[in-house]
């Protein structure tokens, strides 16, 4: 997806998808890529954090329930430390609505109930991007004002 702002193509939308279900992850990455969104997949929280060290993302799609490795909330907390401006959309199944609400308190953008429809996800992602963009603008404007002073 190309983000157009004020009639100018600003930049490509960059998304990180984190899910331990390999088939789900692969397919979702493919479908987002097909929609021209720069998407990278990560099969665990640890892997996601490693990728985030090197790449900036606009949004992260994070499955909150990943048995085995680092759990969703922990991952979310770490992500917010690395890239505070990246908006995080949580994917939640049964038993994790409360966890999602906890996630919202920790700064996640929103949550979606699995199984998701791609259209719903796209809507959420664009909203997330708008918000992130607004934030970035504000910060940029603040910085410019500072420089001009």
């Amino acid at each position: 997806m190309t983000i157009i702002q004020n009639g100018v193509i600003m930049e490509r939308f960059k998304v990180l998808v984190v899910d331990d279900e390999q088939d789900f992850l692969e397919t979702l990455v493919n479908r987002l890529k097909k929609r021209d969104i720069d998407t990278i997949g990560a099969a665990s929280g640890e892997e996601a954090l490693k990728i985030m060290q090197d790449n900036l993302f606009d949004a992260v799609v994070l499955d909150i329930k990943m048995p085995g490795g680092m759990d969703g909330i922990e991952t979310l907390r770490e992500m917010k430390k690395i890239q505070p401006l990246a908006e995080i959309v949580l994917l939640t199944g049964h038993g994790s609505v409360e966890t999602s609400i906890e996630g919202l308190k920790l700064g996640a953008f929103d949550y979606l109930l699995k199984p998701i429809k791609l259209e719903e996800l796209l809507v959420k992602l664009s909203l997330a991007f708008e918000k992130k963009d607004l934030h970035s603008h504000k910060i940029r404007n603040l910085k410019i004002k500072e420089l001009l002073r």
Binding site: D23, F24, L28, N30, R31, K34, G93, H94, P115
Partner: protein, 553 residues
């Protein structure tokens, strides 16, 4: 099965209690009854025996006194003196002066000839040599006769004593006044049936009895039955009643003084006492039986009601245990299904994306692919809904307390379903109590429950019928019942009606989750949900919601 158990238990308790309490009572009663009778009889016998003995002694004393008088007269006078009738007459007067009770007096010589006589009868001319008593008095020295009529044709008896005077042997003979003698004996006749008389060793009356005969007639007494001293026997008397006879031998066992008494006469007091005792024992027995039966019935009834309450509690406990376990399982299963569903949905989405590419657009089967993919998505959606319902309810279980007007909630729910009902010719009637308080509960969840119950009722009726909804306040609960006149629910299905995924509707029409969810909601709200139904008579679901007063704001 249960009923016979209870009644056999009741029988056992009643039987044991009665046996333990009645046996000693009856035994004691019978013992007292017979012991008392025995003692009383002994007492009566002793009494009559004593009277007989005393009377016999009195009679004996009387006779001995007469013999002594006669003897001393004979010993102090000579034959010549006494054959002088003037002298004899004088003596006779002296003898009778102080209650001598002699009727006459005679002197008889050793050949039986009356030599002198004082008395009212003309018997001086008689010779007694051939009379049996003459020999006896001559040999034994003293003689008391039986009563006989003799020459004078009147019943009497005589006393005779022999005097040995030098070579001369003579006899002084006197007749005892039978009236006076009889009077002495008769003085022992007491009570209404008491009798007293003397018989000789052949059973001939020697005195006039009060009943049963004349003097010198044969009595019913068999003297051989009476032993030495005083003996008491019981025998039937003429009128068929039992009588006691006490006989004492006197006059060297030649006479028997008999005192008789009808048993019933003496026993009246005893019978009254025994009658009283029987009444007391009987009323005691009645009281015990009555108390035992009543208390046993009460105990058994309490036991039955306790048992049924216990069974009800057990059933409820089992039901909620089962539903909790099923709920957990269902939630687990739902979670496991959700993940594959998510993958399937993504894969079909991906396929749709790919179908947009040119290679596929050219394929003649493009439409078929699209239709198949849509169908897959449709059914994934269906599965997703089931799981979402389940998970959604399981998730949203924590009640959100607010001020709820139950009647309002019912009315809102009814208005939601009115159209649906009207289309099926089903009438919904509400009978709502105006006394319901506002309670703290979860309106959305309660509406969900009412919606489930009412739409189930409509579905059960199918076409044409009546759904009645009522609300009532009772103590700590508001009771809402939803009644339909549909076909009813068979008993085997009633037990499973609240189970998840259990449905009586056609496949695909019901998820089998509505009542399960309703059950869980009501239970979380602290209430109860129940069902009463008979096949052919419709079904009534009853919801009890606790009255929780809202906090004052």
């Amino acid at each position: 099965m249960k009923k016979t158990l209870y009644s056999s238990l009741r029988r056992k308790i009643i039987f044991l209690t009665l046996a333990v309490s009645l046996a000693p009572l009856i035994l004691l009663g019978a013992t007292i009854y017979y012991q008392f009778e025995k003692m009383y009889k002994e007492k009566i016998e002793e009494q009559i025996k004593y009277r007989s003995q005393a009377q016999a002694e009195a009679v004996d004393r009387f006779l001995k006194a007469r013999m002594a008088i006669l003897g001393s007269m004979a010993d102090t006078h000579s034959f010549w003196e006494l054959t002088d009738e003037n002298r004899l007459s004088q003596l006779f007067q002296i003898m009778n002066l102080r209650q001598g009770n002699f009727v006459d007096l005679g002197v008889i010589d050793n050949i039986g000839q009356h030599r002198a006589y004082v008395g009212p009868y003309e018997i001086k001319k008689f010779n007694y040599f051939h009379e049996p008593w003459f020999d006896e008095v001559m040999s034994k020295g003293i003689y008391i006769s039986n009563v006989y009529t003799g020459y004078r044709k009147l019943p009497h008896f005589i006393i005779a004593v022999r005097r040995q005077e030098n070579q001369q042997t003579w006899i002084l003979r006197a007749t005892i006044d039978p009236e006076v003698f009889g009077e002495i004996v008769r003085s022992a006749q007491v009570g209404k049936t008491g009798d007293a008389y003397i018989v000789n060793s052949e059973g001939i009356f020697q005195t006039l009895p009060r009943f049963d005969g004349e003097i010198l007639s044969k009595s019913m007494i068999q003297p051989s039955l009476f032993g030495s001293g005083t003996t008491v026997i019981t025998a039937g008397s003429k009128n068929g009643k039992h009588s006691l006879y006490a006989g004492s031998w006197l006059k060297n066992n030649k006479w028997l003084l008999v005192i008789s008494q009808e048993v019933s006469d003496e026993m009246e007091n005893l019978f009254a006492t025994q009658y009283m005792e029987i009444i007391i024992i009987l009323s005691g027995v009645m009281a015990i039986i009555l108390t035992t039966v009543l208390t046993t019935r009460m105990t058994i009834n309490r036991l039955i009601s306790n048992d049924s309450r216990m069974n009800e509690l057990n059933a409820q406990l089992m039901q909620s245990d089962k539903l909790a376990a099923l709920g957990k399982m269902a939630a687990g299963v739902a979670h496991e299904i959700n993940n594959p569903l998510a993958v399937i949905l993504q894969k079909t989405g991906w396929m749709e994306d790919l179908l947009l590419e040119e290679d596929f657009q050219a394929s003649s089967n493009l439409e078929e692919f699209k239709v198949s993919i849509r169908k897959i998505e449709e059914h994934v959606e269906r599965a997703r809904k089931v799981v979402h319902n389940m998970l959604g309810y399981a998730r949203k279980m924590e009640p959100h307390l607010e001020d709820v007007d139950i009647n309002d909630t019912i009315n809102q729910t009814v208005s939601l379903l009115e159209n649906y009902a009207r289309n099926n010719n089903i009438d919904i009637q509400t009978d709502l109590s105006s006394r319901l308080p506002i309670i703290a509960s979860d309106q959305a969840q309660l509406q969900q429950v009412f919606l489930n119950l009412i739409s189930n009722a409509i579905d059960a009726i199918e076409k044409e019928g009546l759904v009645e909804i009522s609300s009532r306040l009772s103590d700590a609960f508001i009771t809402v019942s939803v009644k339909d006149d549909g076909p009813g629910i068979p008993e085997d299905k009633q037990k499973r009606i609240f189970d998840p995924f259990f449905t009586t509707k056609e496949a695909g029409k019901g998820t089998g989750l509505g009542l399960w969810v309703s059950y869980s909601i009501i239970e979380k709200l602290g209430g109860k949900i129940g069902l009463k139904s008979d096949v052919g008579k419709g079904a009534t679901f009853t919801v009890e919601i606790p009255v929780t007063t809202p906090e004052k704001k």
